[in-house]
Amino acid sequence: MKIRLLLAATLTLPALSFGQVGLGNFSGNIESNFQYLNEDTVISALQPPSKGLMNSYMNVFYTQGNFKAGMRLESYLPRIQGYPDYFSGTGVGMRYIGYANDFIDVTVGSFYEQFGSGLVLRAYEDRALGYDNMLDGFRAIIRPYKGIVIKGIYGYQRASFVEGRIQHGPGIVRGFDGEIHLNEVIAWMADKKLDVSLGGSFASKYQADDQPNLILPENVGCYGGRIKMRYNKFTFDTEYVMKGQDPSQDNGLIFNPGHALVANLGYSQKGLGIILSAKSTDNMSYRSNRNGKSQELLINYIPSMNKTHTYNLVASLYPYATQLLGEVAYQAEILYTIKKGSKLGGKYGTSLNFNYSTTHNSLQHTSAINPLDSTGVTYTSRLFDQGSTLYWQDINFNISKKFTKNFNMILSYYNITLNNNVASVTKITKPDGLIRSNIFVAELGMKFANKQSLRAEIQGLFINKYEGKPVDKGNWATMVVEYTFNSNWFMSVMDQYNYGNQYKDRRAHHPYVTLGYIREATRIMVSYGRQRAGMFCVGGVCRQVPASNGLTISFTQSF
């Protein structure tokens, strides 16, 4: 017995010491959200059968020299309200091992990746949205020379998480991407003012033909090139991609090819930044399941071309989500800071910001098409060939000024038009679907001598009328007051008041109180109150969140 014990100690001691010498590096995070919901007939909020709902996640990443490994555990007991319905149970939602040195980086298992601007391929996650299209398979990244990166990927995509298990999509995705930064590679360009990067990507998906009476392409390719340039204060970048015939649920099983172009031209110097952007897309939904819809199994990422707003009434009532079938969009953004010490700039400078974005349909020409031929191509389209249907328009302006060390103010105005027939966020009867709103926001920030601080927002949304009545839910007013007691504790009170609803019994207040505690990388928040139904968006991808009334506790921790 003694000998056995000794033998065990003999074997484990070096193991222990070995483990300590190179304990490696652990990092990660935890997030948990709990809801207890009540029924509220005024805002049509329902109580879920289980009353309580909880989403939890934990990521652990480990590196030891050139070795790396990581995993994420997820738990939906059941999923919180408004989360997509394909998440349930507890289990491992992501896991990988890999090896990386300066030359090569290899991963087996789950990984996230983006080629260029993502028009060909982008695997990413956004937990708040319930979006996770990670790839599960093999990836290699090679850096043969400074300024050159070559990537290759092969895998299935994560489609959903059911009963604690990752469910993959039916299609295999593979691709490669190369990028070269000329100024790092070509010696005589090293210190030139003109800076140039070139890149190219290719992706292909394979999905067996699942339609007995149609001959569908089983392998569909998507490829493109990009260039990024900088000269003095000017920057220019563009990417153009093409997609092969890809009959899908999205496009009604047509055999049209697809294309997309995104370009940005910028000028900036200290105190002034300008960017002009343009985008033209046609038939660019690209999924590893041709029967997929909404945010399921997208291989690429087509961003919507508009500013991401943060104030409650601007961000969540009438946001725009990108239309994969085709759009032509433009955007301009200018930020100018009036110098400190000047008459208008004051002691701290004054910033002026203007932003304009517009999106229309992409024209589809059918005159040259014989509808009886067997090609399955139903129209032709050209780059930046814009139709007359307005999808979205946003004109906004804001001015921010710090008056003293302890007092600042931001005033903003937004004029937003959303075509609800195209990017549907609500139910209205107006035939053209256009919802126009004017939104005003004033924000004040104050800091007190005892290190406490106060922030307040007053927001008003004024909507257009149709047949004498306000469209959708009518006008809204929102007030937010946030008080920070010290570096650990804060409290906020928000009320959204739908005072302009055409139905008197729906002119409801939506009070919402939050108490928060923060200590270094730990955050705990307890909230109670009403939340109206609305859109929750991150990066132009949105999900509908139903109205709710109740308690929410959320906890986040990084380590």
Binding site: L6, L7, A9, T10, L11, L13, S17, Q20, V21, G22, L23, N25, F26, G28, N29, N59, F61, Y112, E113, S117, R122, Y124, R143, V149, H181, E184, D195, S197, D237, V262, G266, S268, Q269, K270, G271, L272, G273, I275, Y301, P303, M305, T310, E333, I334, L335, T337, G349, S351, G445, K451, S453, T484, G516, I518, E520, A521, R523, G539, T556, S558
Partner: protein, 174 residues
């Protein structure tokens, strides 16, 4: 047999003890992970070897994140003094994706920031650093160890951050 096991035991004990001193520096501190990012000029940067002399503040932000911008605009007014007194470098890591990435340069130059700005459009560095939500600020010492981190921003948090910077700046000078 018994003797052999005893001998092995002592050999292994010896190895274990001799291995101890090396562990001291690396026991429980978190090191900066290695992720390849690009800066606003398109140059690739290895996050584990950024090559700054003094302490580094890494601040995750986005053009659509109001408290992030509040934090970085507040520090901007104090930054020249901070740099002079402690030699600190602030690295602002934007997690803007392709939708808003083009606006990063507009904002940075429009606000005349003097920070080093890195782009993390697919959240690779954010994930590796265990960031749940922005703003999240880390303080890294001259050996690449993460010595302090803070989630969220409330006015006054920058003073606490500066206290922490001063601690390691003094340590670095010794």
């Amino acid at each position: 047999m018994k003797k052999l096991v005893f001998a092995l035991f002592f050999v292994s004990l010896g190895w274990t003890l001799s291995a101890q001193p090396e562990t001291e520096n690396h026991s429980s501190v978190k090191q900066l992970p290695k992720v390849m990012l690009v800066d606003l000029d398109g140059k690739s940067i290895n996050t584990a070897e950024m090559g700054f002399k003094g302490p580094i503040v890494i601040s995750f932000w986005a053009t659509w994140c109001a408290p992030c911008k509040r934090e970085l605009n507040t520090i901007q007014d104090l930054y020249p003094d901070w740099q002079e007194e402690t030699g600190v470098t602030l690295v602002a890591v934007s997690i803007d994706d392709e939708k808003t990435k083009a606006q990063v340069r507009v904002y940075v130059d429009g606000k005349a920031w003097d920070y080093v700005v890195l782009l993390d459009p697919n959240g690779d560095f954010k994930r590796a650093m265990g960031v749940n939500n922005v703003p999240h600020t880390f303080l890294v010492d001259t050996e690449g160890n993460i010595v302090y981190s803070h989630n969220n921003y409330a006015p006054g948090d920058e003073e606490k951050l500066y206290e922490e910077i001063k601690k390691i700046a003094v340590k670095g000078a010794n």
